[in-house]
Subunit: 201 residues, 2 copies
DNA sequence: GACCTTGTTGGACGCCTGCGCAATAGTCCA
DNA sequence: TGGACTATTGCGCAGGCGTCCAACAAGGTC
């Protein structure tokens, strides 16, 4: 197995363990077992646990970000792109990847590499949204005085609501999270209520 | 020291350590050292670490909740109460208690007692807000079709934005978090922009 | 065929964890 | 004053952690 392949395999194994046990409960030995190799090998490719966790989290988050971005690029006008955003974001979230974000935000205060990665990816999500909003303002599809701020607010409301469903399991149903986030986005962007309406699958 | 006092002292010491090191990094020995006693004593009052962490988190969160609730009760009309809410919430948050919420949300998946406490207190915050909104609708100060949902959304946007400032330190300044949250609340409640305006201290 | 680089192993090291338990200290009641 | 009770101590236990390192295996180069 080539060094590049091996490195990818380690990241993949770490991600599997993280999804199963959470970021804080991921250990070098579990990652090695998952891969069927020794624990020393992991440290041959990653200087520290912090680095490995950051790399695994980055892969998970990047996959979601890329698939959402790709889905949005497939849509023609900004309105359709926003629809794609919500549809893909919600789908990605329900695969329990969101628990990783909760872990990352909490671990950020203790693990520099995780903090840097989490910050970078959060900004990338905001930028993805801000770009679409700016495009929509140019084409007069949207009315929005502050695209960058609106992107933060749309994302934060989505995160804040999703947080409740994932951390506490019961309080809000996923349907409400989607409907409320979409409705909020519509007011932010000066759209008629229902314009971004999505059928809950 | 009476059993009740001792129990309170342990919770207080645990809270100090949690604020310093975070929830995940709080250990029985650190709590005992903080209190100047032995580690066995902690287990004499708390059956497990999970219970102790939940109790300490509960105290921190309850203090904030109570002080905000008290400040709101001191205000006469619903509009003034909403102003109090934001003023106190932001003040409480900047004392770094918010990192505890991040920890609690992440730990919730692994520690049943922490999950129960976190869920109960989150619902209490939502209820506090929902009650004011319902009162405001009755007195025609607010126009809001769904007070319970509006409470969740106002709270979630606040949490989502605060999360970015606390976890990533830099991206958004606290002033924006306050202004954006207040503006969002104004639209939710059918108020003129600026009605809830608060001077950033 | 000898050599050297490098992926890989498996275990040792030192430290830390939550928890339990026997022994001690202190206090209240008969 | 003696006895009972309980808060408190201090340490031990079993296990887990990240990290490190000497040894082995394999494959390419001279």
């Amino acid at each position: 197995m080539s060094p590049t392949q091996r490195r990818e395999a380690i990241v993949g194994a770490a991600l599997q363990v993280m999804l199963r046990n959470g970021m804080a409960a991921t250990t070098v030995r579990d990652v090695a077992d998952e891969m069927g190799s020794s624990s020393g090998l992991v440290h041959h490719y990653f200087a520290s646990m912090d680095e490995l966790l950051a790399a695994a989290f980055e892969r998970a988050a990047t996959i979601d970000l890329d698939s959402t971005a790709a889905s949005m690029r497939g849509s023609a006008d900004p309105v359709e792109q926003m629809r794609s955003f919500f549809a893909t974001y919600i789908r990605a979230e329900q695969d329990w990847a969101f628990q990783l974000w909760l872990d990352a935000w909490a671990e950020a205060s203790r693990r520099p590499a995780v903090r840097a990665t989490s910050q970078r990816l959060n900004v990338a999500w905001q930028r993805l949204l801000a770009d679409v909003i700016e495009a929509g303002v140019r084409t007069a599809d949207f009315v929005c005085a502050d695209p960058a701020g609106a992107a933060w607010r749309i994302l934060s409301l989505l995160d804040g609501l999703a947080l409740q469903t994932v951390a506490h399991r019961v309080d809000l149903d996923r349907g409400a999270v989607l409907r409320w986030s979409v409705a909020h986005a519509e007011t932010e962007l000066g759209l008629e209520p229902g314009t971004l309406g999505i059928q809950p699958c």
